[in-house]
C-alpha cells in the first residue's frame, strides 16, 4: 500500500498479496487465518446489518460500539452470576440478556430524539465513551474474577461449559454468533424485500413527508430502527465475550462497532452486500495482522486502509452523482 504511494510496484503488490491473498491461501498462514475470517466477520456483519436498517431510514446510529460493550456486559453478568451451575438454559438466557443490554443502550438516544429532538449521531457516539468507562469499572470491580489474584478482568467463560459460545464445527471459526449473523442477513433481506416494516423504513428514508402522509409514525420508526441495531450489536458483543474473547476485560472492545459503519456503506446497505463487505473487512483485519508481523507495519496502518476504503467509496458516490464544473455559470 505504501509502496504504491512511493511508486514501487513490486513491494506494493507484495503488501496487497500479504493482506488479501496469504491469509486464505498461503500454507503458513491459512490454517490459523481461515477460521479467523469467520470469527472476525461474524460480529461485524451482525452489527452492520442492524445499522443498515437505521441508515436506510435516515437514522444514524454511530454508537454500535457502546451497544456492543453493553451487550457483552449484560450477557456475561448472567453467566457470572450463575457460575458454576450447569444448565442448557444458561446460554440462551445470556443471548437474551446481551440483546437486551444493546437494546437499552440504543434506546437512550432513540427516546431522547423522539421526546427532545436531540441528535442521535452525537448522543449515540458519546454513549460509546460512557460504555467504555462502565466496561473499565466492571472489569476492575463488579465482574472481576475473585480467583484472579486481584488482576482486572472477569472469569474466562471458555472454562464454563454452559456459558461458552463454542465452535459449531471444529476449526472452522463457525460459532453461534456467526450463524446468527448469517441468519440476520437472510432476515434483513426478507424484511426489505417483502415486509411492511422494511417498506416503511425505506420510505421514511426516501421521502419523510410521504411516509408521514402514508400514516407511518416517525417516532415508532426511530425506536424500531435504533432498537433493532442496538439489539443486534448487543448480541454481537455477547457472542464475542462468550466465545473468541472469553472474558470481560478493559480492552474487550476492538472497534467492530465502528468498522461495521464502513461495512454497512461498503455493502450499499444491502444485506447481501454487507455479507460480502464484512468478509472483505475481516480479511483486512487478519491480513493486516500478518502484514504487521511480516513487514513491521504499525498497527494504525490497517485502520488507514479501512478508512481509505470508505473514503474512496464515498468519493465514488460523489463523482457518479455530480460532475465538476468550471466557475461562472
Amino acid at each position: 500500500m505504501f509502496g504504491l504511494l512511493l511508486g514501487d510496484f513490486s513491494s506494493a503488490f507484495g503488501a496487497i498479496k500479504l493482506i488479501f491473498w496469504d491469509p486464505l491461501f498461503d500454507e503458513n498462514f491459512a490454517s490459523y487465518a481461515r477460521p479467523q475470517l469467520l470469527v472476525k466477520a461474524g460480529p461485524i456483519i451482525l452489527i452492520a446489518i442492524g445499522l443498515s436498517i437505521g441508515f436506510k431510514a435516515g437514522i444514524w446510529n454511530i454508537g454500535a460500539e457502546g451497544q456492543y460493550i453493553l451487550g457483552a456486559i449484560f450477557g456475561a453478568s448472567v453467566a457470572l452470576s450463575l457460575y458454576p451451575q450447569e444448565s442448557i438454559l444458561i446460554f440462551p438466557a445470556m443471548i437474551l440478556a446481551g440483546a437486551l443490554g444493546g437494546f437499552i443502550w440504543a434506546l437512550i438516544p432513540a427516546l431522547l430524539k423522539v421526546y427532545f429532538k436531540t441528535n442521535e449521531i452525537l448522543v449515540s457516539l458519546m454513549l460509546v465513551y460512557v460504555a467504555e468507562n462502565i466496561l473499565a469499572s466492571v472489569s476492575q470491580g463488579l465482574l472481576r474474577n475473585p480467583e484472579g489474584m486481584g488482576l482486572p478482568g472477569s472469569r474466562n467463560l471458555k472454562d464454563y461449559p454452559s456459558a461458552h459460545n463454542s465452535e459449531i464445527l471444529v476449526n472452522s471459526g463457525m460459532h453461534w454468533g456467526v450463524l446468527t449473523a448469517f441468519l440476520a442477513v437472510i432476515l434483513a433481506y426478507f424484511l426489505f424485500l417483502k415486509h411492511q416494516k422494511g417498506y416503511e423504513i425505506r420510505i421514511a428514508g426516501e421521502a419523510p413527508k410521504a411516509a408521514y402522509f402514508a400514516g407511518i409514525n416517525p417516532s415508532k420508526t426511530i425506536i424500531f430502527c435504533m432498537g433493532m441495531s442496538g439489539l443486534l450489536a448487543g448480541m454481537a458483543g455477547l457472542f464475542e465475550v462468550a466465545g473468541p474473547s472469553g472474558q470481560i476485560t478493559m480492552s474487550f472492545n476492538s472497534g467492530y462497532g465502528f468498522t461495521a459503519i464502513i461495512v454497512a456503506f461498503l455493502g450499499r446497505l444491502n444485506p447481501l452486500g454487507i455479507l460480502l463487505a464484512g468478509l472483505l473487512m475481516a480479511l483486512t483485519y487478519i491480513g493486516g495482522e500478518i502484514a504487521q508481523l511480516m513487514l513491521g507495519l504499525p498497527g494504525a496502518s490497517i485502520q488507514l486502509l479501512q478508512g481509505m476504503l470508505l473514503f474512496f467509496l464515498l468519493a465514488t458516490d460523489i463523482f457518479t452523482n455530480y460532475r465538476f464544473k468550471s466557475k461562472g455559470s
Binding site: Q196, Y199, R202, I203, Y212, F213, A214, G215, S329
Partner: protein, 507 residues
C-alpha cells in the same frame, strides 16, 4: 415590427427512448408575444431549455438576430439577451428581495445601488415591490415579480415565461399582462408558455403548437377559438366535464372551529374554520396558495392532528385519527406536492401505490406485502387513469408532472372514498388530463361521496363545484352556492370581505 429576433430551424433533441423535439422550426419577431402551446410532454420545456442554454440540440440551428446562436450554458444565453422566469421560483425565503436578486446576477452592484435600480424598474413597469421585504413574507404573485425584475435588470431582448399565471390571482394576472404589454411596446419579445387558452387568446400575437415533440400548427390566437386551439394541441376533440344535477344527501363531513398554529416559520396558521359537505356535494375552496391551503389539507388528511370533534364524518369525531386510520373509514386526501409528499420520488409506481393502501388484500396479518395484488392495483390505476409510463417499475420521479398527478388522483379515487380532499388537482396538468381528472371528481361525487377541492384555479372551481368559499390568511369565508356568485363577488371574497354578500344570500 417584422424583424425576426429568434429563428429556430429544424431543432431535434432525443433522450433515450424518447424524441423530445423533432425538427421544430418557428420564428419570434421583435416586439411579439409568442405563445408556445402543447400538452404535458409535448416538448415545450425541452425546446425552451435549449434556447436558454440548459441543453443543446442534437441537430438543427438557431439564429438570434443575424448571428448563429447555440448557448452552451445559461450565462451565455443571458449575455445574448435571453432571460427566463421559471414556473418554480428559485428564491430564498430568509433573504430579502434585493439580496435574492443580487444572488442571481453575474456582477451584482452595491446593495444600495441595486435597491434603487429595483425601485426604478418596478415603478416603470408597474410591478410594485419593496426591495427590503423578506421573500418568505411575499405572496406567489410578488415572488414572481422578484423573478421578473431580476430578468428585466439584465435588459433582455427575449423574455421566456413558463406558466406565469398558474399561481396568480385574477388581479395579479391583470397587472402582469399590463407589464407584458409595456415590454412589447418597447420592442422586447416574449415567449409565453401556458395551458390557459383564454389568456393566450387575450395577450399573444402568435402561437406555435407542439404535439409529441413536433410542431403541428400555428395560429393567430385572437382569430381562433379556444376549442380549435385545444384540439390542435391534443390532436382530437375532447369534451369538457359534464355535470349532472346531483341531489345532496345528509351532512357527511363537518369541520367546526378548526384552528391550527403552524410550526413552519413561513406557514400560515388556520383560525376558526367552519364548513360542512353533504353527500354528493363538491365543496370548492378558492384562494391563492400559501394562505393556509397546505395546513388545511394536512388537518383533513390526518398528518396534523386536532382535537377529536373539530372534524367529524357522519357525526363520528376523527380529529385525532392518523392518516391510515382515516383511510380505513373512507376518508382520503391528495396533497398538492406530488413528488416527496404524495409520492416518493425514487420508489417505483408499485411501491407508491402502497403508500395509501393498508387493507388486508395487500398486506397480510404477518405484515407480508402481497406484491402481486399491489401490482394488480397499480396496473388498474395506470390503465383506468391513462398514466403513461413504460413499466410499473418506473420510479415516480421519471413520470411527467401530469402523468404523476393522474396516478396520485387515480390511486385515491379508485378506492372509492366517502370523503375525498384534494389540493390543486390539476396544477401543471394539460387540458385533456385536467378535463379527465375533473370528470372523475364529478363521477366520484355522484357516487355518493363528499369532495373538497382546494384550488387557485377559479375556472376549475366554477366548472365542477357546487359550493364555494375562499381561504385567505388562514381564515375561511362563508360558503355560497357557486351559481349565485358573479366574478365580482369572487373578487370581493378573495379580498377578504364577506360583508356585502352576507346580506344578499344566506347559503
Amino acid at each position: 415590427m417584422a424583424e425576426v429576433l429568434l429563428q429556430m430551424d429544424g431543432i431535434s433533441k432525443s433522450f433515450p427512448g424518447v424524441k423530445a423535439n423533432d425538427k421544430v422550426s418557428f420564428q419570434i419577431n421583435s416586439g411579439e408575444i409568442h405563445a408556445l402551446l402543447g400538452e404535458n410532454g409535448a416538448g415545450k420545456s425541452t425546446l425552451v431549455k435549449m434556447i436558454y442554454g440548459l441543453m443543446q440540440p442534437d441537430s438543427g440551428s438557431m439564429k438570434l438576430g443575424s448571428e448563429n446562436f447555440r448557448p452552451s450554458e445559461p450565462s451565455k444565453a443571458r449575455q445574448s439577451g435571453i432571460a427566463m422566469v421559471f414556473q418554480h421560483f428559485s428564491l430564498f425565503d430568509a433573504l430579502n428581495v434585493a439580496e435574492n436578486i443580487a444572488l442571481g446576477m453575474e456582477n451584482p452592484p452595491k446593495m444600495s445601488d441595486l435597491s434603487e435600480k429595483i425601485e426604478t424598474v418596478s415603478k416603470s413597469y408597474g410591478l410594485p415591490l419593496d426591495p427590503k421585504r423578506l421573500v418568505g413574507q411575499l405572496s406567489a404573485g410578488e415572488r414572481q415579480r422578484v423573478e421578473i425584475i431580476r430578468c428585466l435588470l439584465q435588459n433582455p431582448k427575449l423574455l421566456i415565461m413558463d406558466e406565469p399565471t398558474s399561481v396568480l390571482t385574477p388581479n395579479e394576472v391583470k397587472t402582469l399582462f399590463e407589464t407584458l404589454l409595456r415590454l412589447k411596446e418597447e420592442g422586447k419579445s416574449i415567449l409565453y408558455i401556458s395551458h390557459k387558452l383564454e389568456e393566450i387568446r387575450e395577450i399573444c400575437d402568435f402561437a406555435t403548437i407542439l404535439r409529441n415533440g413536433e410542431k403541428v400548427g400555428s395560429c393567430i390566437p385572437r382569430d381562433t377559438s379556444a376549442k380549435q386551439i385545444g384540439e390542435m394541441m391534443v390532436g382530437k376533440s375532447f369534451s369538457s366535464p359534464s355535470r349532472k344535477t346531483r341531489v345532496f344527501g345528509e351532512e357527511l363531513l363537518k369541520v367546526s372551529n378548526l384552528s391550527i398554529r403552524t410550526k413552519d416559520f413561513f406557514g400560515t396558521s388556520l383560525s376558526d374554520i367552519n364548513f360542512s359537505v353533504r353527500v354528493g356535494e363538491i365543496f370548492g375552496i378558492g384562494g391563492v396558495a400559501g394562505n393556509g391551503q397546505d395546513e388545511l389539507l394536512s388537518a383533513l388528511s390526518g398528518e396534523e392532528k386536532t382535537s377529536p370533534s373539530t372534524i367529524k364524518i357522519f357525526n363520528q369525531p376523527i380529529g385525532k385519527l392518523a392518516p391510515d386510520e382515516r383511510r380505513a373509514i373512507g376518508m382520503r386526501a391528495a396533497p398538492e406536492e406530488r413528488l416527496g409528499h404524495a409520492a416518493a420520488p425514487a420508489m417505483t409506481l408499485i411501491e407508491n401505490t402502497l403508500i395509501t393502501s393498508h387493507s388486508e388484500d395487500v398486506i397480510d396479518q404477518w405484515g407480508i406485502i402481497k406484491f402481486d395484488n399491489v401490482k394488480e392495483k397499480t396496473r388498474n390505476i395506470v390503465s383506468e387513469f391513462d398514466v403513461r409510463t413504460p413499466t410499473l417499475d418506473n420510479a415516480a420521479a421519471s413520470l411527467s408532472g401530469g402523468n404523476l398527478q393522474k396516478f396520485v388522483i387515480g390511486r385515491e379515487i379508485l378506492q372509492r372514498p366517502r370523503v375525498f380532499v384534494v389540493n390543486q388537482p390539476t396544477w401543471g396538468v394539460d387540458a385533456a388530463a385536467a378535463a379527465f381528472i375533473r370528470q372523475s371528481i364529478l363521477n366520484l361525487a355522484s357516487n355518493d361521496s363528499a369532495v373538497v377541492v382546494i384550488s387557485q384555479d377559479l375556472d376549475e372551481l366554477f366548472e365542477i363545484c357546487d359550493t364555494f368559499s375562499v381561504l385567505t390568511n388562514g381564515r375561511m369565508s362563508k360558503s355560497h352556492d357557486i351559481r349565485s356568485l358573479s366574478s365580482e363577488d369572487v373578487g370581493l371574497l378573495m379580498g377578504g370581505s364577506d360583508l356585502d354578500l352576507k346580506n344578499r344570500d344566506k347559503a
